[in-house]
């Protein structure tokens, strides 16, 4: 893992995404802080892992992809909850959590890419 604080931030945000799986009722969230359906659990596990790998290997495209994925998932959830079709199985709390992770990962990735000593690495 690199020592760059931006890479560490990407790892932390990705870990927060993976840990969201624990917020399911099966994972033991008695207060239902965030509603995590099966679809949302799969999405956040995959995108969170992608962000962790991107941060640990300093691959900005992976972090960008994870951030974009979270923002897309937030928009999808926003357009569907309260309606008959709800692929992610979440609600406004899911929108909020995904929005935070998406905005955070994109901010970190864009700042990392703008650093003068940043050497692009392929995904």
């Amino acid at each position: 893992m690199t020592g760059d604080p931006l890479d560490r931030a990407a790892v932390a945000l990705g870990t927060a995404g993976v840990l969201l799986v624990l917020m399911t009722p099966l994972g033991g969230d008695p207060w239902e802080l965030v509603q995590v359906g099966v679809g949302a659990a799969v999405v956040t596990a995959l995108l969170g892992a992608l962000a962790v790998v991107g941060g640990r290997t300093a691959r900005v495209p992976l972090v960008l992809a994870a951030g974009g994925g979270y923002l897309a998932a937030a928009l999808l959830q926003l357009s569907q909850f309260g309606r008959d079709t709800n692929w992610l199985g979440g609600n406004g709390s899911t929108v909020s959590y995904f929005l935070g992770l998406g905005a955070g990962l994109l901010a970190v990735a864009l700042a990392r890419r703008a650093e003068p000593d940043h050497e692009p690495k392929g995904a």
Binding site: L78, G92, S93, S96, Y97, G100, A103, A107
Partner: protein, 179 residues
């Protein structure tokens, strides 16, 4: 008498202080995250009889007024345009949860959170079975987030702010002020 301009001893900058400030920020963020969960479009509770959810709590501002001008505003502006205000409430509270959680532009969002807490307080403070300190504490928590610039403790503001300070341009200057 020696006077360096500070009103008293500086606050401690220890690991424990920073962990405490981060815990406050993340806790307040999770409150907004969860609050966004029960603002349910497309009707936000208005289609039920009696009204439920956000519609019910908004009507408290009129049925149990706290500040007459605010009750008038809710009765004559908010309730007739309730779907619009429902979406605004959902988006503001979801954004509060999102940005306070990661500690990005935290001072700006602390101000927004204070304003939203004030709107909630003016709506429900006098409603039956409400504990008034819930709302006072919500307001005070955002004051603490603003005063401590809480995103600088284990938040993205702490990582990105030095870069914004070095950068030129209006956007970077705004982000420095917001963080």
């Amino acid at each position: 008498m020696y006077d360096d301009g500070a009103p008293g001893e500086p606050l401690p900058d220890t690991r424990g202080t920073r962990l405490g400030v981060a815990a406050l920020r993340i806790g307040v963020a999770l409150m907004w995250v969860q609050n966004a969960g029960w603002k349910t479009p497309p009707d936000f509770g208005a289609a039920s009889e009696p009204a439920r959810g956000l519609r019910r709590f908004t009507e408290f501002a009129v049925d149990h007024p706290v500040l007459p001008p605010y009750a008038w505003f809710v009765d004559n502006v908010v309730l007739p345009n309730f779907t619009f205000f429902g979406w605004v409430t959902l988006l503001v509270e979801a954004s509060l949860g999102a940005f306070l959680l990661i500690g990005l532009a935290t001072r700006f969002w602390a101000v927004v959170g204070f304003a939203q807490s004030l709107a909630i307080t003016l709506s429900v403070l006098n409603a039956p079975h409400e504990w008034h300190w819930s709302y006072f504490l919500m307001l005070l928590a955002h004051v603490a987030l603003l005063a401590t610039a809480a995103g600088r403790a284990y938040g993205l503001d702490g990582v990105l702010r030095p870069r914004w300070r070095r950068a030129s341009g209006r956007g970077a200057a705004l982000l420095v002020r917001a963080s």
